[in-house]
Subunit: 205 residues, 2 copies
C-alpha cells in the first residue's frame, strides 16, 4: 500500500531529523533509506527530491498539530477562552519540550531552513483558525477589529517570531518583557480590555 510506504519513509526521516543538529545538511538520502530499511532508488519512487521529504515531514507534523488546536478550541464557550486556549496549545506544542514532539525537537536545532519552513507552516496553518475565531468574536461583540484576517496573521506571526529563539536569543527577563508588550499589542489589535492576555506572561500552574 502506497500510503504505508510513504509513512515509513517519513517516519525514518523524522527520526533522523530529530537526532541531528542540521538535518538539511547532515541528513542524507542514503541515511533515510538505510534507516527505513529500503533502497535509495525506492525513495525516489515516492518522492521527487530530498527537499520534498523534509517538507512532507513538517507538513505532517503541523497537520496533526492543527487538528489538536482545532479540537482544543471547539469546546470553549467564549471567544476569549478560545483565543486563550489556542495560544496555550500553540505554545505548548511549539515551545515546551515534552520529549516526544517533533516540532519542539526541530525548533531546538540549528537548521535555518527548517526554522524558516516551520515558521511559514505555523503561520499558514494557524492563521485561518484564529481568523475564524476573530470573525465569530466580532459578531458577538467580544473583540473588535475591522480586519480579522490581517489581525490574525499578524498576531500569529508575531507569536511565532517572538518565541523563535534564533531571532532573539534573549534571556528570560527580556522574553518576559517582550511577552508583556505582546499582550499589550494584542489588546490594541483586538480592542479588548486591559489585562485580557495576562496569562501569556504568567507561568502556568
Amino acid at each position: 500500500m502506497k500510503e504505508k510506504k510513504i509513512d515509513i519513509i517519513l517516519n525514518s526521516a523524522e527520526e533522523l531529523m530529530c537526532s541531528m543538529e542540521e538535518p538539511n545538511k547532515d541528513m542524507t538520502v542514503d541515511m533515510i533509506a538505510k534507516n527505513a530499511g529500503i533502497g535509495k532508488g525506492s525513495i525516489y519512487y515516492y518522492f521527487e527530491s530530498k527537499d520534498e521529504i523534509i517538507d512532507a515531514v513538517i507538513e505532517r507534523s503541523y497537520s496533526s498539530a492543527i487538528k489538536e488546536y482545532f479540537v482544543s478550541t471547539e469546546n470553549c464557550k467564549t471567544t476569549y477562552e478560545k483565543i486563550r486556549q489556542l495560544f496555550a496549545s500553540m505554545i505548548k506544542k511549539e515551545f515546551i519540550d515534552n520529549s516526544h514532539n517533533v516540532i519542539v525537537a526541530l525548533h531546538l536545532q540549528d537548521d535555518i531552513i527548517l526554522h524558516y519552513k516551520m515558521m511559514m507552516t505555523a503561520i499558514k496553518t494557524v492563521s485561518p483558525i484564529l481568523t475564524q475565531i476573530l470573525k465569530d468574536g466580532v459578531k458577538d461583540g467580544s473583540v473588535h477589529t475591522e480586519t480579522p484576517q490581517e489581525s490574525a496573521e499578524m498576531i500569529v506571526a508575531m507569536l511565532t517570531f517572538l518565541l523563535n529563539r534564533s531571532f532573539f536569543p534573549s534571556d528570560d527577563a527580556s522574553m518576559y518583557r517582550k511577552l508583556k508588550l505582546y499582550a499589550k499589542v494584542l489588546e490594541t489589535c483586538l480592542e479588548t480590555e486591559k489585562g485580557s492576555f495576562g496569562f501569556l506572561f504568567t507561568k502556568p500552574e
Copy 2:
C-alpha cells in the same frame, strides 16, 4: 593588499548573487572565482567556506546601509521625526527597488536562507539605533515605554517581517490593512498620539 582582494571576491559574489534565483544553491565557488578572475584555491585563502562569503556579502551591505540610517536620523530635530526618518530609510533601502541595491535585489529572490539571514541581520543592526532613539525620546517625554530595547526589537522585527513577501504574499490591499494595523500597534507600544504613524501607509510624494 589583503582588504582589496577580499573586496574583489565579495564584489564578484555580490554581482552573481543579484543575478540568480537561489544564490545559495545556484552560485558555485568556481563561479565566484572565475567572475573575480582568480583561482578557486585563492578564494579559500581568504575565506573558510562558501557560507562565509555569502554572510560577508550580507554583512557588508547592511553595514553600509546602517551608516546611512544613522546619518539620516542624526539631523532630525524631534524623536518623532527620527523614527519617521529611520522607517523611511529602511523601507526605501529594503523594499523599494532602485535597481542598484543589493538588499532589494536579494529580497526579490527565492532563496530562503538568504531571506532569513537578511532578516536576522536587519534586526540585529537596526534595533540598536531605534533603541537609542527611543531612550532619548523617553527622556524628553515624546514617547513612553518602560522597555525601550524590547520595544525597539519588536518594532523592527515586525516591520521586517511584515514587508517580507515570502511570509505573506499578500495583495496590496491586504498589505495596506496590515500597515494600518502596524501603525496602531506602534502607537500602543510607544504611547504616542493617534495617527502618529500614518505616514507608513500613505504613499510618499
